[in-house]
Symmetry: C2
Subunit: 483 residues, 2 copies
């Protein structure tokens, strides 16, 4: 059962580095699987699915993640529009642009704004609060979901609730169970003492950045409280309609200051309402925050992957296929990935960004990409690089192909280990079956294609030559518009 006018607008623009080495610039937190087999974006889509049909799930993301976002959405069957931001401009512009496009589609559309990288342990409570908020939205309120605080957290903003909202009918229809309130005020991240006062005083809720409102209503409020933002969003919507090119879109985005919707509108509007709810929410802001949301073993550890532990306590031990052995750890974080390992005291989890900063300075690659790199046609994984050679495992999705390309300085040996490859090499087009191989000389136009509609193609590529950089590529034709 889905509501007729509810759309989800999932904000997936983050570029966080606090989950390094699992997250990378090319794979920020919302695009990785942290607590389940699904990525956090996919979990967000699934969470709202009982109320929002797949074609009404909108996602806002950055240019560099659009391929991966598309791939992840297809995997969970979401078919709504993806709004690509040429540059990130915080939640203000993202929401304003989405609201514009929604109003064009349906002037009465209700949008629920959801960050793509939060965890909700109790999805039913979440769905109840969204349904309840939808009714308030139809009455003109800008509704925030207020999370009942579990501790005097200094990492979140707070919402002070005001008077209870009057119900709109004799039975108090829709407002009967947990209640809804006017917002007295939004407050930014407090210091420790202030946070403690909020908790002991009561009436304060965590602000998780989840909103429900009529698209037209938020546009009205943006016009009233942030006219420059409103103008920018209107210009962008017009530019989209007229099919403006990438350069023009970037200009329009870059012109406007980064501002959050909280700061631009919510702190000023008189129409803000809040629904307090306890839904096992966390923004999982660091590895240490897994303690809030993941299951623990009997010694208080969160353990995942191939870990062999002896006597550790209260630690987060996160491995994949490689073996990680731990002995006697207390309050530690260990995260292992194919090309990098993090070992960190739990109370220093915020300093992971210092490591990422240092890697940036050293022009390292381990904060940028994973060993397995996503491409629109599939993936490649660098298995080894040596003097004069590089070995990759290449997986080509069913019915997909790489660009028609050539390399100046390297040749390539391809051994097919699963599926069948259709190979273009110079003037010839031929099939290479599993356990067969072929050779691509330098300066020869070639293409690798998987014509099978259902089975992925896997090949091992051995590159050989004096220069093996990814930039030695000339593309002649590409299904994905790359040149």
């Amino acid at each position: 059962m889905t509501s007729s006018r509810l759309h989800a607008v999932i904000l997936a623009g983050g570029s966080g580095t606090r989950f390094w080495p699992l997250s990378r610039r090319s794979a920020p937190k919302q695009l990785i699987a942290l607590l389940s087999d699904r990525t956090m974006l996919q979990e967000t889509v699934a969470r709202v699915a009982p109320l929002v049909p797949p074609e009404r799930v909108w996602v806002v993301t950055g240019r560099e993640h659009v391929d991966e976002v598309g791939r992840q959405l297809r995997m969970v069957g979401a078919t709504g529009p993806v709004i690509v931001e040429p540059v990130g401009r915080n939640t203000g512009l993202a929401i304003a642009v989405a609201a514009h496009r929604l109003v064009e589609l349906d002037p009465e559309a209700v949008m629920t704004v959801l960050p793509a990288d939060h965890v909700v342990a109790k999805p039913d409570a979440f769905l109840r609060s969204v349904s309840q908020a939808e009714e308030l939205a139809h009455r003109g309120f800008l509704v925030t979901i207020g999370l009942v605080p579990r501790r005097p957290e200094t990492g979140y903003g707070y919402i002070k609730r005001g008077a209870p909202l009057p119900s709109d009918g004799p039975e108090g229809k829709g407002l009967s169970d947990p209640g809804a309130f006017l917002v007295e005020r939004f407050v930014e991240k407090p210091d420790r003492k202030t946070a403690e006062r909020y908790i002991s005083q009561g009436g304060y809720l965590w602000n998780g950045g989840m909103f429900i409102w009529r698209a037209a209503a938020i546009l009205d409020e943006i016009r009233a409280h942030a006219p420059a933002l409103a103008k920018a969003a209107a210009d962008i919507a017009t530019a989209v309609r007229s099919g403006a090119d990438e350069g023009r879109m970037r200009d329009l985005y870059e012109r406007i200051e980064s501002v959050s919707i909280d700061y631009a509108v919510m702190e000023h509007t008189a129409r803000a309402a809040v629904i307090p709810v306890e839904m096992g929410w966390s923004d999982v802001g660091s590895w240490a925050a897994l303690d809030d949301v993941a299951e623990h073993d009997e010694r208080g550890n969160v353990v995942s992957g191939r870990v062999l532990d002896v006597d550790s306590e209260r630690s987060i031990l996160y491995a994949q296929d490689r073996l990680v052995a731990t002995i006697g750890l207390q309050d530690m974080i260990v995260v292992d990935t194919p090309d990098a390992t993090l070992v960190c005291r739990k109370d220093r989890a915020q300093d992971v960004r210092r490591v990422v900063g240092e890697l940036e300075k050293r022009h390292a690659q381990e904060h940028v990409v994973h060993r397995t790199v996503q491409r629109p046609w599939g993936t490649y994984t660098v298995l080894e690089e040596g003097e004069g050679y590089k070995i990759k495992r290449i997986v080509v999705n069913p019915a997909s192909r790489l660009s028609l390309q050539s390399h100046h300085r390297r040749s390539e040996h391809w051994v097919v280990v699963a599926g069948t490859a259709r190979v273009t090499c110079g003037d010839r087009v031929y099939d290479v079956a599993t356990n067969e191989s072929t050779f691509i000389p330098p300066q020869t136009k070639h293409r690798l294609e998987n014509v099978d509609p259902s089975i992925p193609l896997q090949i091992i590529e051995v590159q050989s030559g004096p220069y093996l950089g990814e930039d030695d590529i000339v593309r002649f034709d590409d299904d994905f518009g790359r040149k």
Copy 2:
């Protein structure tokens, strides 16, 4: 300048697991490089080289390590005999057999017995004590090097020194500087309280298992105090002379109980002498012991390899090529290898053996072999295994070849990335140059050979087939006697 009759007998039979994951069953501590580019065995050879010429360096090791020991000795130019033990029987039998073979060569031979896996930070002090001991050995003494204790260690045996040794001439020739003493008694590893008493009382030295004596003298004492051991060693020496086969040799070794030379002889003989010396010695019994012998940074860390550290203290951070990032660690051990990582509290370093025990129980491979496996002809490294395929990098030493072999169930694609391969495949013999490839079908006799006298051959092998175990191999001819 080398002494005319001094031989080194290096005991390299250990199979320790306390340096896992750097040490493995196939690469025990003495065969790994812990503190320098050279392995501990190679360091031991180099340490004694000023006194012992290369052809008089003997090494005793087990059957499964003989190839690797040979390879390491060649690298440092040691050319003496390698005595292969079919099974390890502690220092008693190893020393007795070596002494027998030395006496056959030269009845006046002096042997210095050295463990292959100890560290000596002050090699000059070591050499002075060996020279001094050699003179005592010629006078009939069984000399032990006694290490001046730095703390009340409970992990070592102790030697109580007795009366000073009388010098043998008017000037006290050779005994002038640090002095030498009769041994009052050898004592086994003490408890904490006893060790503290030894230190405060003085006159106690650590027993590091380093001995210098005439080969004939130690044989006399073995005959007197351990006749069964003497008989076994004599039988083995006879069997070696008569070219006995492996089965016969194993019988002879298995017949005798494991016993240390300390227990069999030193605790009973009246001819024991000790030379106290401070030479920066450690038996580096665990990762934590690196603190005794390795250099520290300004925060007390021992750091090696690709480590990016933020604020750690008193920790041992040991990486190789993969990136290891550490934040805020205190008194921790982190050891990273291509296929396994250890994270361990420093005071739990002894429990590494529990991890190895657990891996054994689970029939894992990470305690047995490294990702790179040594072979008599070179090395192979498994880069990746997947459903139906396995990828190896194979390095063939100059002028070396693998066996003539075939596989029932797998085919092999070989891409040459450095050097030239001479390939036998069925009836054909042909050369494959760098950047060329070839294909070996299943059930086809084949051989890979590097005919170049100086350049290693590197190939990437992609195996393909329904079964890819190392045991699917039939050998028809082999340079290394394997069948």
